[in-house]
């Protein structure tokens, strides 16, 4: 057996896991590992400009592929800089491996130089974390970390490696484990058949059914099964913002996404439904609005791989613990075998009602009340220019909601956003992580002039590695989402939501060696956008000036039910 140092084992184990890129930043505690990286060329390291970006790049790779991305950061400040990225992945259940350097094991606890208790700091925001106490355990720990990160409900795993575990002169026989078994961790592989049968019976008897799905469809690779199941029954489908693309956005059965800024028709349909089939969605407070007023007439079937997601905020009538894909396969089979059929008259009446709601709002916005370009127009153009096929990586704010509302996603894993944590600064590194791995695809970062400045230093990384993403900055010269809340709840007192002293983004990106375009008129938008996407080998930053007074609608009324919404600045349900 080959003898390798701890540092070499880290790199070799990553290679044996099939890892092509890792994203990171060196420092004292990791120098042995960086030296081992230097001496091979199978695992390529991407040097970011801030560790937060390394974690978002790894995370976005995982969102696009459902395979864990890997970040490598040094001890102390390197590790703490990665915290926001780990929390971002944790909140959205994204598989990721973060390897953190640590001070020598015999110095731990002595407030050594660049020591932080990474296990302690990361504990509440990881699926699990490991500390290496014997160098020869490195391969098995890495194997376990990958296994834990991507099975069951996925999530980030941190591996903390003290520097003396990577000493080049201490070598050990290396073998990468073929399999792993943990007596305390046994993710479910299928749902309870009795419960599934009961659920199907209820579904076939429903009069106003709704299928409400979420991120679990995307990460559980169950989009095809969901689509088949929904088509079989002809029931309306909505999803959370995390589930976009899990069901085709242009399908007539799709009623838009739901929740705080969800479509009028999906929120109305949820509220009036008599049976909700929830799959891989966690009844988040951005979705339910006040839980005591949530869907008063509906019974709830809840399918989730994590039992703790079921009946956490809203009580389920039929809980089903299992992976979305396997449960849906079983449901499809049962529906096909069953002699019962949905009540066609009831279903027709239900669809008639939903179409009426669709007609009432249906995602309209006003273009006549201002000279300025509307952010919604920009996203609709983006959807058109990229034929709905781009990877859309969003930052956080109004622009995120507009992107989710007006870009039509027909495929899963194409909409990449930070939903649970809502991390401004996520968009650009996310787009980079994806472009690097999918160089032939259109990859766009939709951002705001606020968010982009949270990780703008990564333009330098893009230069170093030639990562030609397109950045669509909806420049409303304000922290628009904050400002909207201030307009609606604080009599327009714009406390600290105005971004004066913005940089000249064009000059800024040019100084990094990229292309900048400023767009102020709608008539110039399509041409400019087509030009930007045609420049395949350059990063293009589109600084697009949009109406700073625009709000995102619909918007649920705080503490109301799902049907209580503002539909514009003046209309309320």
């Amino acid at each position: 057996m080959e003898l390798l140092s701890g540092a070499e084992m880290v790199v070799r184990a990553l290679r044996d896991e099939g890892v092509k890129y890792i994203y990171g930043y060196p420092g004292g505690a990791l120098l042995h590992v960086y030296d081992a990286l230097f001496q091979q060329d199978e695992v390529e390291h991407i040097l970011v400009r801030h560790e937060q970006a390394a974690t978002h790049m790894a995370d976005a790779y995982a969102r696009a592929t459902n395979k864990p991305g890997v970040a490598l950061v040094t001890s102390g400040p390197g590790a703490t800089n990665a915290i926001t990225g780990i929390a971002t992945a944790y909140m959205d259940s994204i598989p990721m491996i973060v390897i953190t350097g640590q001070v020598m094991s015999f110095l731990i606890g002595e407030d050594a130089f660049q020591e932080t208790d990474m296990l302690g700091i990361s504990r509440p925001i990881v699926k699990h974390n490991f500390s290496v106490t014997r160098a020869e355990d490195i391969p098995s720990i890495i194997k376990k970390a990958f296994y834990i990160a991507q099975t069951g409900r996925p999530g980030p795993v941190v591996i903390d490696i003290p520097k003396d575990m990577t000493t080049p002169t201490e070598r050990f026989p290396y073998e990468y484990p073929k399999s792993v078994k943990l007596r305390s961790y046994n993710p479910v592989t299928k749902g309870h058949s009795g419960q599934i049968r009961k659920a199907v019976d209820m579904l076939l008897a429903a009069k106003r059914p709704m299928i409400y799905t979420g991120g679990g469809i995307i990460m559980g690779d169950a989009s095809a099964e969901l689509t088949e199941f929904a088509h079989l029954l002809k029931y309306p489908v909505t999803n959370t913002i995390m589930g976009l693309g899990g069901f085709p956005g242009t399908d007539p059965q799709y009623v838009g996404w739901l929740g705080m800024h969800g479509s009028y028709e999906s929120n109305m349909a949820m509220h009036h439904s008599d049976l909700i089939l929830a799959i891989g969605a966690r009844f988040d407070d951005r979705v339910t609005n006040a839980v005591d007023k949530f869907c008063p007439t509906a019974r709830i079937i809840h399918v989730d791989i994590d039992p703790a997601s079921i009946s956490k905020t809203v009580q389920a009538d039929v809980p089903i613990v299992g992976p979305a894909k396997a449960v849906l396969e079983e449901m499809i089979q049962l529906v096909k075998e069953s002699k019962k059929r949905p009540d066609q008259d009831a279903l027709d009446a239900w669809w008639k009602q939903i179409d009426e709601w669709r007609g009432r709002h249906g995602g309209r916005y006003r273009t006549d009340d201002s000279e300025m370009m509307k952010p919604q127009q920009v996203i609709e153009m983006l959807s058109k220019v990229t034929n709905g096929n781009a990877y859309v990586c969003s930052d956080v704010g109004q622009h995120q909601m507009f992107a989710a509302q007006y870009y039509k996603f027909n495929k899963p894993n194409r909409w990449i956003n930070s939903g649970g944590l809502g991390t401004m600064g996520f968009g650009l590194p996310a787009a980079m992580g994806i472009k690097l791995n999918f160089p032939e695809s259109d990859v766009v970062c939709v951002t705001g002039e606020g968010s982009i400045q949270m990780n703008i230093q990564e333009l330098s990384t893009c230069k170093q590695y030639d990562i030609p993403v397109v950045i669509v900055c909806l420049n409303n010269q304000s922290l628009g989402m904050v400002r909207q809340w201030q307009d609606m709840n604080y009599e327009s007192r714009h406390s600290q939501s105005y971004m004066n002293s913005l940089p000249d983004f064009i000059k800024l990106v040019e100084s990094y060696g990229h292309v900048g375009m400023k767009v102020t008129k709608y008539s110039e938008l399509e041409g400019a956008m087509r030009e930007a996407f045609a420049m395949k080998d350059r990063l293009v930053f589109m600084d697009i000036y949009v109406d700073p007074f625009e709000h995102v609608y619909p918007m649920q009324v705080p503490r109301g039910s799902m049907r209580d919404m503002w539909l514009s600045k003046t209309e309320r349900t």
């Binding site: 296990l119 302690g120 509440p124 699990h128 500390s131 007596r183 305390s184 703790a308």
Partner: protein, 163 residues
């Protein structure tokens, strides 16, 4: 409602902090907590006494089960079980109080485990209620120090918590 939750977990460094952290992170209550290794040195057994409505207790057991180091979880209060707590209590014991403490300890089947001319230390084992009752019944004595182990529990009958 008061619940006694037993947890079997890997005897690994950090395992305890994961459980304790989970309780504070998720705003769950801990009334008492005991932990020690079992006959199998790779496993520790923890007993958590907590309070909460049904929904909260369900979340507690589900969230505990999710921790990778946790092997098994049972809510002992769901079935017949025995719970015990150990208390050591030191009294100022002069004059006629000496006899009264001794008498009360006997009634509660406590033992005097340390004596000085001015103090008695009593050891008492029982349910938490019994320990509370003992303290209450010696309300006029002067208590110098109380130390309680927290509740441990085990199911009655043939039911066991093992792997």
């Amino acid at each position: 409602m008061r619940h006694i939750i037993s947890v079997l977990m890997e005897n690994e460094p950090g395992a305890l902090s994961r459980v304790v952290g989970l309780f504070s992170q998720r705003n769950f209550n801990i009334e008492s907590l005991t932990v020690a290794p079992t006959d199998d040195s790779t496993l520790s057994r923890m007993t958590v006494m907590t309070t909460g409505d049904e929904r909260v207790i369900e979340q507690i057991t589900k969230q505990l089960n999710k921790l990778i180091d946790v092997v098994k979880v049972v809510d002992l209060s769901e079935g017949d079980h025995i719970e015990r707590e150990l208390m050591m209590i030191k009294f100022k014991a002069n004059g006629q109080m000496r006899a009264e403490i001794k008498r009360t300890a006997d009634i509660f089947r406590g033992q005097i485990i340390d004596i000085t001319p001015n103090t008695y230390t009593v050891q008492l084992v029982g349910s938490s209620d019994k320990l509370d009752a003992f303290i209450a019944s010696l309300g006029n004595a002067s208590i110098m120090e109380v130390v309680r182990s927290g509740v441990s529990g085990i199911a009655r009958g043939e039911k066991v918590l093992t792997i």
